[in-house]
């Protein structure tokens, strides 16, 4: 049924001398019913990519297919998609019911069927008692659910989410994340979810697309991305605290960068000599910031364990099976 195919997708702005290319040839396939997260820092092009799938931005090069159909020249309304916006984009002058029914009314669906669909979606999202209210009278979390309800009633082939949780406070964000996961399990609709938050990405994604400056650096499951990052960018973007990337580690290779996550380092009697700079207690764990030679590194230890003094020397041994090697020039995994 519905899969999304991105073939050599390119986006350029401007013409001639002032041309700016922001997306450099993205290739990816999203399986039917898959929940894919597009994650990356601000300005990496993830929203642009999503909006190209939506039809809100023109596709400068390459092809996008939805459900096997090339949609480069197809209007958003014809693509059988639904989108949840960052600022909800609810029609302020309509009730919650009318907001959700809007797209269905345009399709000239019979009134009873509209009623049925809206009630069903409202049931799933616990909005039943809010149907006659206007957006002004709702809280942020409620508005977010109405935005999702509007998408659900259309029963589209694809759901597109554009940073929908960014405007919610931390607690609400966590709650809504779980609701979105539940929703996906129930409805099983192919979803593309854009976020800059790697925690959201790791928890929601079945597979994730890590983007950097218009390039897709890696497209894989959260495990793959975490355990086998394809580049130094992915390695340092995913995981908190970020992976240590060392050029001149002892035992390192020429022209290669050694990567080791802070939690995969044992502190003991032998290993690298690391001069301690600061120690942070984070409750269940401790972070030791130190220097190996002239490079900074972070080591994570359990809370009850070692608490070295600043300026002391500790010995850190990285676990052999958790070492990553990246080419120093390209940053790519070797």
């Amino acid at each position: 049924m519905a899969a999304i195919q991105l073939q050599d997708v390119v986006k350029k702005y401007g013409k001639g001398k002032h041309e700016l290319q922001v997306i450099h040839g993205v290739n990816a396939q999203v399986g039917d019913g898959e929940f894919v997260v597009i994650v990356g820092p601000s300005g990496c092009g993830k929203s642009t990519l999503l909006r190209m799938v939506a039809g809100l931005e023109e596709i400068t090069g390459g092809q996008i297919q939805i459900g096997g159909r090339v949609v480069n020249d197809v209007e958003p309304a014809e693509r059988d998609i639904a989108m949840v916006f960052q600022n909800y984009a609810l029609y302020p002058h309509m009730t919650v019911f009318d907001n959700m029914a809007y797209g269905l009314k345009i399709k000239k669906m019979p009134v009873e069927e509209i009623r049925m669909r809206v009630d069903k979606a409202a049931g799933i999202l616990e909005l039943g008692h809010l149907l006659e209210r206007t957006p002004r009278q709702l809280s942020g979390g409620q508005r977010q659910r109405v935005a999702m309800g509007r998408a659900i009633v259309r029963a589209p082939q694809v759901f597109l989410f554009d940073e929908p949780l960014s405007n919610l406070d931390a607690k609400l964000r966590a709650q809504t994340r779980i609701e979105i996961q539940k929703l996906h399990r129930e409805l099983g609709i192919t979803s593309l979810f854009v976020t800059h938050d790697q925690v959201e990405a790791m928890t929601l994604a079945q597979r994730m697309m890590v983007m950097n400056a218009g390039n897709m650096e890696q497209f894989g499951t959260p495990e793959e991305v975490y355990h086998s990052p394809a580049s130094t960018f992915v390695a340092s973007f995913i995981g908190s605290p970020p992976m240590n990337l060392l050029k001149n580690a002892p035992g390192g290779r020429e022209g290669a960068i050694l990567g080791i996550r802070p939690e995969h380092i044992d502190v003991g009697t032998d290993g690298w000599a690391v001069k301690v700079e600061t120690v942070e207690l984070l409750g269940a764990e401790r972070l030791i910031y130190g220097r190996l030679g002239d490079e900074q590194m972070i080591i994570r230890v359990e809370e009850g364990g070692l608490s070295p003094e600043p300026d002391s020397i500790i010995h850190a041994r990285p676990r052999e099976d958790r070492l990553h090697w990246f080419d120093a020039a390209s940053g790519k995994r070797v």
Binding site: A54, L56, A77, F85, P92, I106
Partner: protein, 293 residues
């Protein structure tokens, strides 16, 4: 809203506010009060005899067919000016909103009529549509359309309406453009994804959300038609033929300065005051509600 931090001085605020208070006392409140008082009096043109006659001036006015006719003329005039002014500028604003590049160009050339004096606009349009020498009048005659604003009341009304709308388009246009731009783009995009085409998007999303602006402009245009068009009327038709384009404010002028009926003119002014205050109150009460997104 009040300021938390204020300065202390016993004499400075009075000194600062004095110029304005002085000016408005002498040139606003005193004349306004005089207007109200005079409306209850009858005096001859030389002011030698003054008689207090209570509401008689008002009574006479409301029984005076020419006054009632002037009311009707003003109502028709302001309705036409407001409706056409708003419609035309809305169309232009909607299309201007779609333009990505060159908006500044279009705006520059659409807003300058605001700068034209009503009286000048009146002279220009009268010249264009003068049945004897006007170019536009010539074309109308060629097209077999009878046109004589000097004799035909409807033609005269059309003339002043056209001149007034022409001048007011820029003002309305600016407000509509600002109103359209204050609607978040994501609403339009959401509607597009929901399947709404541009026409439907306009009617179901943009137009409803523009309603505060539209209502505001309705009030403004009516006030404009009531008062600021004096120059147009005087230049183009002198309120004629007969009294058929003599709007209320024109009648006040005519009766007061030409016919020298001071009491009657003052009474008319008083009534106009009530109307303006009512319109202003309506505007502040109902229009100052903003739509939240």
């Amino acid at each position: 809203m009040e300021k938390r931090v204020t300065f202390r001085s016993t004499w400075l605020p009075w000194a600062l506010i004095a110029p304005q208070v002085l000016v408005i006392a002498v040139f606003f409140f005193w004349p306004a009060a005089q207007t109200l008082i005079q409306s209850f009096q009858q005096q001859d043109a030389f002011g030698t005899s003054v008689q207090w006659i209570g509401l008689e001036n008002f009574h006479n006015l409301f029984n005076d067919p020419t006054y009632l006719a002037s009311f009707r003329v003003t109502a028709v005039f302001s309705l036409l000016v407001a409706v056409f002014g708003i419609l035309l500028s809305l169309v232009l604003a909607v299309f201007a909103d779609r333009v990505v590049r060159g908006v500044l160009f279009y705006r520059t050339f659409l807003i300058w009529p605001y700068a034209v004096a009503p009286a000048v606009a009146g002279v220009v349009w009268m010249f264009l549509l003068s049945p004897s020498i006007g170019v536009a009048a010539y074309w109308l005659h060629r097209a077999e359309i009878g046109w004589d604003p000097l004799l035909n009341s409807n033609d005269a009304m059309a003339l002043v309406v056209m001149a007034s709308v022409w001048k007011q388009i820029s003002y309305n246009f600016l407000f509509f453009v600002a109103g359209l731009q204050s609607i978040p783009r994501s609403l339009i995009e959401a509607a597009a994804i929901d399947g709404a085409g541009p026409w439907r998007r306009f009617w179901t999303i943009q137009f409803p959300l523009l309603s505060p602006t539209t209502f505001f402009l309705l009030v403004i245009n009516v006030v404009y038609a009531f008062f600021d068009t004096f120059g147009i009327i005087d230049a183009a038709t002198h309120g004629g033929p007969g009294k058929d384009t003599s709007i209320l404010v024109y009648k006040v002028y005519f009766d007061g300065f030409k016919a020298l009926d001071l009491g009657g003119s003052a009474a008319q002014s008083a009534i106009l005051m009530v109307i303006v205050v009512a319109l202003t109150v309506v505007q502040f009460r109902f229009v100052e509600k903003k739509v939240n997104y």
